[in-house]
Structures are given as structure tokens and as C-alpha cells.
Symmetry: C2
Subunit: 243 residues, 2 copies
Amino acid sequence: MRVEIWSDIACPWCYVGKARFERALADFPHRDAVEVVHRSFELDPHRAKGDTAPVLAMLTKKYGMTEAQAQAAEDGVGAQANAEGLAYRTRGRDHGNTFDMHRLLHFAKERGADRQDALIAALYRANFAEEASVFDDEERLVALAAEAGLDPDAARAVLADPAAYADDVRADEREAAALGANGVPFFVLDRSFGLSGAQPVEVFQQALTRAWESRAPLTVLADGADGTGADACGPDGCAVPGA
Amino acid sequence: MRVEIWSDIACPWCYVGKARFERALADFPHRDAVEVVHRSFELDPHRAKGDTAPVLAMLTKKYGMTEAQAQAAEDGVGAQANAEGLAYRTRGRDHGNTFDMHRLLHFAKERGADRQDALIAALYRANFAEEASVFDDEERLVALAAEAGLDPDAARAVLADPAAYADDVRADEREAAALGANGVPFFVLDRSFGLSGAQPVEVFQQALTRAWESRAPLTVLADGADGTGADACGPDGCAVPGA
């Protein structure tokens, strides 16, 4: 079974939702048969690279909150993150463009699903829990990539070339739109079931169970091993011309 | 869309079938949305490591052919391979245990789908077209891994440890059995459609089209962005406690 997760590094509910999903998966009896793939989604695709601002300023502007209300909101998200065992820095975080981080996540994916998973965890932690900003600091991203087991020089080269993996990011975003995503985190199970949001662990458990139980037998379109079709190799050997 | 291909390096129809599938895919209008994953299948899982014999001897024993008939059979497969533009050495090939090659393919997969694809192509070519045997020669496999962009020392370490990626190979084989594979190459499209054998290009084209047209909308299990559910971030911003 395959679970695809569309998310953005700048999305606190993606950070929290990933932890909740992982708790559900850890208890899922068929967890060893579940493959997790991370996909890109930018919450703010029109935000220019370099347009970085404090989260509180973004919140007051977007929701018309006072600064105290915005701070209380950050504290509330932080409390939910902490409840999942996640560190969350509620003071002085930045918000900005995440396109380069998504490009780097696709580079990591090409080096293996485990590296991509390590990198997304490192980026979340850096953005939500650490002091140094992940925006507008390529060497910070290179260090996080190295921490995820990637070659720092190769990561630096990816960041230096704005075209590198850009199409992969956009392809993920087009796919999210085609699948009807209107928010992240967006979870898709076996391309059959979708759910969005940092759902409670039980909701993820139910979704995993439902998707698992819905697996249907394959429709056989052509069987090369039935003796009538094309050539195949089976337990009794290969179709052999003249045999 | 995802296409999984179960195959064995020792399976000539897998070598031919892969080329035919790739021709179909190259002409498929949605090819950029198709992800190909290689999975392990051993035709002869009980064959001991080191039990390597000439293909002709295997054919005469298995099918009760004369040596001339076996040679004609190899010539016949070679002609079909050549028709796909593939080199095929019809004289003096070996047959043996492929478990280590499958372990190496899983190591390659962890380093990225492109590396796995490069390695399977290198292994096929080495086994079917080149003089040096791919059986019982670990340094030959290391050289092929290096050719596929993998670190030779890491590949050597994988080969030296019989447990490395062994579970991944067996998991693929269990999955093939669960999906009803009775021969390879075995192609599974979006876990909905299956076909086996080195089918003609048109059959692969029809299968790709049918699987593409059968994609159904997701069943939404929980929508965090509908305002009633869990917390999510959408184009209008994130659910904010207190907003």
C-alpha cells in the first residue's frame, strides 16, 4: 500500500499531522507493507524568493489579528505540536518562500525515500523548532541536507540552479490540484482515499484500515503465462521457441 | 500513475518485455505522469548460490531437448531480442542464482529510482549480451553497480553481507504471490491492472490507456480544509487557534 503526503515546510499542521500519521502507522498491523512518499505543495506559491517576514507579521496581516492574538495563536499551535512530542518555537519564527526546499526534497527523493524522509524531518524541525531561519540561507539548507545523509556539494549545486527539480515540484502541485487537494497536509492512500488536515490519530488509523481492506484483486489484461499469450518465464521455466 | 514490474535478471522475456514496455511508454501521451518501479522475482529461488551452469545444459535438462534444439531455442530468443534493438549472446551464457543481484537492485533503489533503472539495464545487458558471467563474480557486479552510478565500496559491502536487503527481495516476492503473479515479467498498473509476459507493444499501450482512463476520483475520508474538521493549511492560510 502506498501513502502519498502532500505538504509544505511552512505549514505547521503538516508538521503536526505527519507526527500523528506516523503514530497511526506505527500501530498499523500491515505497516511493513506501507510505503510513504512525500510530495510538494506550496501554500504560498506566489510569494517571491527572499520575501521573508516574521510569522507574527504575516498572521496579523492575513487575519487582522492584534499582535497579542497572533502570538496566542502561535502558542496554541505550539501546544498541539508539543502534545505530539514535537519541539515548537513560538517566538520569532519566519515565513517565506519554500520552493528551494521542495527542490531539495526532490533531489533527496532521487537519492532514496529514506533520505527524503530524513530531510523533510530536518526541515520541519529547523523551521519550527530551531532558531536559525531556513529562509534565505542556502548554507543552512546545505547543512540540513548533509544531516539527512546527502552530499553537501551536490545539495549546493541543486540550490544554485533554479531549474533543478523545479519541474518535479510543479508536477507534484499539478497532481495535488488534479486530485482535488484544497489544503495540506493532504494524504492519499493507494490513489483511492484522500484526507486532509492534521487529523486525530484514530482517523488516520481508520483510513489505513479502510484502504487496506479495499484492496481489490487485479484485473488481468493479458497473461503471458497462460500458454496462449506472449512469452513469459514461470516456475516451470521460460517459454522457449521450439519447445 | 505507477507501473511496477516484477522481473528476474535470468529471465530473457523480462529483458525483451522491458524494451517493449518502454517503447509503449515512450509513445504514451501521459508518460511524464508514469512512475516505474522494479520489483524482485526469482524464477529459481531454490537454486543455490554458486550453482551456475550453461544455459544450454539447463535447457536440455529442463525440456528434454537435444543440444541442437536448445541452441535453436536460444537463437530464437536472441532474434526477438535483436528485433527490439537489444544485443543478445546466444552462445555460452550461464544460468544461476540471482538473489545477490536482487539485493543489489534494492540497494540501488534506496539510492534513487534512476539508479535502480540504470542497474537493472546494466545487469540485463551483462547477462544477456556480454561475455563475462554475472554469476559468482562479485567484482563484476560491483563494476556494474559503479556503472549505474553507485558507490563501488558500498555495493561491495552489500554483496558481502548476505542479510543486506534480503528482506526487501523476499517482500517483493511475497507481494507478487499475493497479487497472483505466475510468471514474469509481471506488470502491475496502479495496483489495479496486471499483465504478464513480453507482450506486444500494442498490448502495453492498451493497458496504459485503460489504467489511465480508469483513474477514479478519491473517496474523501476526512477534509481538514472544510472548516469542520481537523486543522489544515490552505490557500487562504492555516487554521489558527483563536482566529
